[in-house]
């Protein structure tokens, strides 16, 4: 009987199975940021166990509130910074080099097919785009990961999503994942892995695959995952060319960990996306999803483009194509936060930043900031934000505020119109 990619990763990383239904895995990487890691660090220090299992496998970034906005966030950054220096963690990204964790770590080549990764952040599921098993965990799991390099999971059950057809114009990865969450609900994949396959995924670049996997947690999934292919190899090639004689060799090695054609799934769902429309959320649940058409005309106060979901170069190109030569609505505040310095630099070089600025956007440094109502674009009570982020919970971007989740294209068109709008109306700019 064949195996899924997740089962193969579990098989090759299992160090213990202490009880039925519990598998302890060896970790290839532990990612850390300044919100959930400092409490782990101070607890380890208090226990006299201020150690790191392998400094080369621990990566850290200050991203959630950067630059620090007050004494408390400055202290969180300091605890992480001092710890990284104390333990000689070479891959530590401080201000000037820092970006949103789920954008900068893949960009640095830290995520590889077949890896096991944890982080104290629920959107760690993003990294499954590379064929890794990557899961968000709490601070205690993170603490044990830092100390011992292991983490416990239930054996992997996988839901397969076979996505076929050709996406219509103006429809992107974000629309797909919103559509799927709307179909299965916020509890639809709890304790399961969402494996995304089919021609639609095959045709996607890594940025789009990350967008899809990023929101698997919004359906309750442990991880989103895509099987590694030539696109994965191309993206990773600068980092893996010392390990393989050729891209063909790399592809063959990664093919061995991909799901077998006769693998067993908990459930298989097939969707033809040829007539999918741009989607957006309403109200306060990520599974409250409607076609943009049905929400069209709803006014917004702020448009936010950025985050671990949609702050990558592909997203900026798509939004800039809509904005080019136009001005955002006078009533709307536009905020762009490129997810990493490299993306920011590339956007500058490609002239994208100029397009955003000419349109009237404020361009911030890379940070998670506004997405979780921390900084750089917090909403006032009763304000509405059209956002390319991942969560629309009540109060998420600021107490009493409301968030409509959507694609960068829809967000850009919404910024121009001042109300929720299909980007196809702005094809080629105005």
């Amino acid at each position: 009987m064949g195996k899924t990619i997740a089962e193969k990763i579990f098989d090759s990383h299992q160090v213990d199975a202490p009880y039925p239904g519990t598998t302890v895995l060896r970790l290839d990487a532990v990612f850390c940021h300044e919100i959930t890691t400092p409490t782990a660090i101070t607890d380890l220090m208090a226990r006299g166990k201020d150690r790191v299992f392998d400094p080369a496998k621990v990566k850290a970034v200050i991203d959630h509130v950067s630059p620090a906005k007050d004494s408390k966030t400055a202290e969180q950054g300091k605890v992480l910074r001092d710890w990284a220096h104390r333990h000689d963690i070479k891959d530590f990204f401080d201000i000037g080099r820092n970006g949103v964790c789920h954008a900068i770590f893949p960009e640095q080549g830290f995520v590889r097919p077949g890896y096991t990764i944890i982080m104290g952040d629920s959107h760690t599921c993003t990294h499954g785009a590379f064929g890794a098993f990557a899961a968000g965990v709490g601070t205690t799991d993170l603490e044990v990961g830092i100390l011992k390099g292991v983490c416990a999971f239930k054996p992997p059950k996988t839901m397969k999503f076979e996505l076929v057809g050709k996406l219509p114009e103006g429809v992107y990865a974000k629309d797909i994942i919103l559509f799927l969450i709307g179909k299965i609900g916020v509890n639809g994949a709890t304790n399961m892995i969402m494996e995304f396959t089919g021609p639609v995924i095959d045709a996607m670049g890594m940025d789009s695959r990350m967008t899809v996997c990023n929101m698997a947690i919004e359906a309750g999934a442990t991880c989103g995952i895509c099987n590694p292919d030539a696109t994965t190899v191309d993206y990773l090639w600068p980092f893996i060319k010392m390990d393989f004689a050729s891209k063909k060799d790399a592809l063959a090695a990664y093919a061995a960990i991909a799901s077998d054609s006769d693998a067993q799934y908990e459930k298989v769902c097939k969707f033809d996306l040829s007539s999918l429309e741009p989607m957006a959320t309403f109200d306060y649940r990520p599974d409250n999803v409607k076609p943009v058409r049905e929400l069209a005309g709803a006014t917004v106060d702020q448009v936010y483009i950025g985050s671990c979901t949609n702050g990558r170069i592909e997203d900026l190109r798509i939004a800039a194509a809509v904005l080019k030569g136009a001005k955002i609505h006078a009533r709307v505040r536009g905020i762009l936060s490129p997810a990493t310095p490299q993306i920011y630099r590339q956007a500058l070089d490609e002239g994208l930043i100029a397009i955003f600025m000419d349109a009237g956007f404020c361009v911030t440094n890379p940070t998670c900031g506004a997405c979780l109502g921390m900084s750089n674009g917090v909403l006032a009570p009763k304000e509405v934000c059209a956002s390319t982020t991942n969560r629309n919970f009540y109060g998420r971007m600021g107490k009493g505020g409301m968030v409509h989740l959507m694609s960068p294209a829809t967000a850009a068109a919404t910024a121009l119109a001042g109300c929720i709008t299909n980007s196809v109306l702005y094809k080629g700019g105005k």
């Binding site: 202490p18 709490g138 205690t140 969560r391």
Partner: protein, 174 residues
């Protein structure tokens, strides 16, 4: 091992998320104690007033998929510093559930029908639960009425509760 049981807080809604349990803006706090006044601050639920309803409670009974959303362990901590060490529901979000057991606390799953019965029979009344973890029994009581509900805490979950949490368990095993 922590102690479990006492007065019950009923939260009658599915999919209560971590941002409702403890808003992100409090994640900049370094101590668990700082979470105490903010538990369930953004929960909009008819009939629920956190200023009135949280004090003195030790157990939460709620609906499906409790704790969905963020990975923040601040959610279990916010309960812990309010002396609530057990949450009972038909199902939990994975990370929240694991965080509870990792802290040596209880996230107990009971059949949806049992939870429905608890809401019908006890919600809105002053109710207490005595929880016997090793015996797998919950004694539920309100004025003049009482009953015992069985549950089973096994394997890894039981080991974590016995050890006092995952760090304690992992440190002695790996």
């Amino acid at each position: 091992m922590k102690t479990f049981g006492g007065k019950v807080l009923f939260l009658d809604r599915a999919d209560i998320n971590t941002d409702e349990i403890i808003p992100a803006k409090y994640l900049t706090e370094i101590t668990k104690e700082a979470m105490k006044p903010h538990l369930l601050e953004d929960l909009k639920l008819e009939g629920f007033d956190r200023r009135r309803d949280i004090a003195g409670k030790r157990v939460v009974v709620t609906r499906e998929n409790f704790g969905c959303g963020s990975s923040r362990e601040h959610a279990p901590w916010a309960f812990e510093v309010n002396d609530i060490t057990a949450v009972i529901a038909p199902s939990f979000a994975r990370i929240f559930r694991q965080n509870m057991y990792n802290c040596g606390m209880l996230a107990l799953e009971l059949p949806a029908a049992t939870i429905e019965h608890l809401f019908k029979a006890y919600a809105g009344k002053e109710t207490t639960m005595s929880i016997d973890v090793t015996g797998g029994a919950i004694r539920v009581e309100t004025a003049g009425v009482s009953e015992t509900i069985q549950f089973s805490l096994q394997g890894f979950d039981a080991a974590l509760v016995q050890a006092g949490g995952w760090l304690e368990y992992a440190d002695s095993n790996y």
